[in-house]
């Protein structure tokens, strides 16, 4: 404030003098404020009497949820700092903060990253705090925050996978939307026959979390908790079957293998060179943003299945954890309970994004609140509710984030024939086991005992 007036004033020697003095005053004031801030940080009561809770998140719409929460009551005041999305720097920032003992009270984590963040020792065990919520959540989401039977985070949303496709082009070409992966391979060939430059989808080889989501559907979890040790089985039957299938499609050129959701991908969608996307609930927002003019052309359905097993993978979804260092865990949990279960949240979410709450009653609210004007075909919530209930057991490992980045590395030579997806998975299995053992973890090599 003082700075503003002094610089606005300008001109005239007396003015300059005064402004210099006010500058000095402002500077000393800042010093005092900094000192006061320094002493205040230990104490969490803000001047209004509300308990201050610090939150780091990159969730779309979080600013609006926080504003609504702060307006709805006077006991807890949440301060949001928007950080970079997970693997783009958010996880690094949070684990560094935990290490430096200045973590915020609430941390943002996707399910796939949670166990790795738990290994920093920086999260509060929430088992007793939120035990009463156990039955409220989608089973897959609830299991994802309880890798070892202790609860480490509160689920917020959950993202089952889906097959987004150009309904108009499929209809025009007379290609059936595939229900099984067998039909999908035939459809892929049919799409290429119809338009030699077009592909049914891309199978992004640089996206480890996507690849893991596809493996999730195939039915052999990569990690299992067996007593006090990890059982690691990445190159087991289910995943290897899935890998061989995609190897065939990629090497025969029936699908593209370039990244999803970058500029080049959006351009391919615009030109009708990609007829589909393997994505998850967040794809609704991505499609609408990337293709504002394609209203009514796209539809969504559950992932094609392996044979007649009605199973669906998942790809993403956020949960929120409380830092072990937090001095205000109760206040933090008050906010997290509100964020995960209050009907106001999906109502706000329906305006800014496509909400896919992990809390079952909130899914009903979201379904009523969300207005779909973009997608044709089956109603979105029918598709995603069906997909969400089909998500099988899965446990993420304590080095998942490293594994995702290794997946991109080992799959990179696939397009040029330098390796095959199944061969790359054997490499991945042994490097994952080696890395885990090196960190001191108890590991059993291989799938089911």
């Amino acid at each position: 404030m003082v700075f503003g007036t002094s610089s606005d004033a300008g001109g005239g020697s007396s003015r300059t003098l005064r402004s210099r003095r006010s500058l000095l005053r402002a500077a000393s004031g800042l010093g005092v404020a900094a000192l006061a801030g320094g002493t205040l940080t230990g104490c969490s009561q803000s001047s209004s009497g509300a308990t201050r809770v610090r939150l780091w998140s990159w969730l779309t719409g979080m600013d609006q949820y926080v504003a609504a929460f702060n307006a709805s009551q006077r006991d807890v005041h949440v301060e949001l700092s928007v950080i970079a999305a997970g693997t783009s720097g958010g996880y690094a920032q949070q684990t560094n903060a935990i290490r430096a003992h200045n973590a915020p009270d609430i941390l943002h984590t996707e399910y796939q990253a949670l166990p790795q963040i738990v290994t920093t020792g920086g999260l509060r065990d929430l088992t007793d705090d939120v035990a009463d919520l156990a039955d409220g959540f989608l089973p897959a989401a609830w299991r994802s925050v309880r890798p070892d039977g202790r609860t480490w985070a509160v689920p917020m949303d959950f993202c089952p996978m889906a097959f987004f496709h150009r309904k108009d082009l499929f209809d025009k070409a007379g290609v059936q939307v595939p229900r099984t992966w067998e039909e999908f391979a035939e459809a892929a060939a049919a799409v290429r026959r119809t338009d030699p430059r077009a592909r049914i989808t891309t199978f992004p080889l640089n996206d480890g979390a996507f690849f893991a989501g596809m493996a999730w559907q195939a039915g052999d979890p990569w990690w299992r908790v067996a007593g006090d040790s990890w059982q690691v089985g990445i190159d087991t039957k289910g995943t290897m079957g899935m890998a061989g299938y995609w190897q065939d499609l990629v090497s025969s050129g029936k699908v593209a293998h370039t990244p999803t959701a970058d500029q080049s991908w959006i351009s391919s969608l615009h030109q009708g060179r990609l007829w589909g996307m393997l994505g998850a609930t967040w794809g609704v927002g991505v499609m609408k943003r990337s293709l504002p003019t394609a209203k009514g052309k796209w539809a969504v359905t559950t992932l094609p299945t392996w044979g007649d097993k009605a199973v669906n993978g998942a790809f993403g979804g956020s949960a929120f954890a409380v830092a072990a260092q937090s001095e205000v865990p109760e206040a933090a949990l008050t906010f997290l309970r509100w964020l995960s279960t209050d009907p106001a949240v999906p109502r706000i979410g329906a305006k800014v994004t496509f909400p896919s709450p992990a809390y079952l009653p909130s899914r009903k609210v979201a379904r009523e609140a969300y207005k779909n004007e973009f997608f044709a075909g089956e109603p979105l919530f029918d598709v995603f509710d069906r997909a969400a209930t089909r998500v099988p057991d899965w446990t993420w490992g304590p080095t998942s984030l490293s594994v995702f980045s290794s997946i991109a590395d080992v799959l990179a030579p696939v397009p040029t024939g330098g390796t095959t997806i199944p061969r790359a998975l054997h490499t991945l299995q042994s490097s994952t086991v080696a890395t885990m053992r090196e960190r001191g973890l108890a590991v059993r090599n291989g799938g089911r005992a």
Binding site: Q271, P413, P415, G440
Partner: protein, 305 residues
């Protein structure tokens, strides 16, 4: 030794009674620098050295947090025997082998052209050459990434190879770095060329040397010290190559998560949370940079003799 110091001190006290105060002034004037050096350079280096001797050891499922254990030089042996680190080093060596000659050759040529008497619009040319340096590295990376991308950039179809494929990505990164840094070196060389004494050039001309002969035999040898300093900067910069490959990673999987030593360190620290190994790799990279710069400086000293 002690005697000498004592006698010097005595002599000093005799001649200049105010010396202790002066010494205090000197210390006070040096203090800001010393404090900054201590806080921003020495302490972090010391901390990195300290960290590199430890590792965060988990146990069981790992959910009860880690214990920091002293492992001596184990992190160093891990990095030195890690095939991923070797690949990163190989990549960076190849990169430097192509990037440095191409960029230095180009920059010298342009600087000599700018310096020659016949060039018109010199200011505009030098500005034009320098402009890429003014583009922030990440932005430049994105621009080139888009130019290389299939479907949106023209280069993917114009080039006989895929600039984002395994055979082309190295030259793509060399191109990005050369584009960005060439102008910077041109300005350095050009400024040095301006300082070459006119008399020497006139004498050369009087002896019958043409423009090319003057450039090769007079100008380049005279700016050799500058070229070596620039070479040292570029060598260190090459070893630390990070921005370009990091940005290209979002466009292609060909650039792996450990493609250069800096990426290797980033991956170790921020994806694997293996801070000890990251610290050890950083120390090794710093040592390599120091050795290489010393080598370059020594070469320069030998040449200029």
């Amino acid at each position: 030794m002690t005697i000498a110091v004592n006698s010097q001190q005595e002599a000093g006290e005799l001649r200049r009674p105010s010396r202790p105060r002066r010494r205090f002034t000197g210390a006070a004037l040096a203090a800001p620098f010393a404090v900054l050096l201590l806080c921003t350079v020495l302490v972090p280096i010391g901390y990195a050295l300290w960290l590199s001797l430890f590792t965060d050891r988990l146990s069981g499922l790992g959910f009860d947090g880690y214990r920091q254990v002293f492992t001596g030089l184990a992190n160093y042996t891990h990095v030195l025997t890690d095939p991923a680190a070797h690949t990163a080093l190989g990549n960076i060596a190849l990169y430097a082998l192509i990037h440095i000659p191409v960029m230095f050759g180009g920059a010298l040529l342009i600087a000599l052209l700018l310096n020659s008497a016949t060039v018109r619009l010199r200011q505009i040319w030098s500005l034009a050459v320098f402009l890429p340096y003014a583009v922030p590295g990440v932005i430049a990376g994105l621009i080139w990434g888009y130019l290389y991308s299939p479907n949106i950039g023209p280069l993917n179809e114009a080039l006989p190879f895929d600039p984002l494929g395994s055979g082309g990505v190295l030259s793509s990164i060399v191109n990005m770095a050369t584009w960005q840094w060439m102008g910077y070196n041109v300005i350095i060389f050009y400024t040095a060329l301006q300082a070459v004494p006119r008399e020497v050039l006139e004498a050369a001309r009087a002896d019958g040397a043409g423009a090319i002969r003057t450039a090769l035999s007079i100008k380049i040898p005279m700016i050799r010290p500058t070229v070596f300093v620039a070479l040292m900067f570029t060598t260190i910069g090459s070893l630390q190559l990070f921005t370009e490959p990091m940005v290209l990673r979002t466009f292609t999987g060909t650039v792996t998560s450990t493609w250069t030593p800096s990426l290797y360190i980033y991956e170790a620290a921020f994806t694997n949370n293996d801070y000890g190994r990251a610290a050890a790799a950083s120390v090794l990279l710093a040592l390599a940079s120091a050795l290489l710069s010393a080598l370059v400086m020594r070469l320069s000293a030998r040449r200029s003799r």
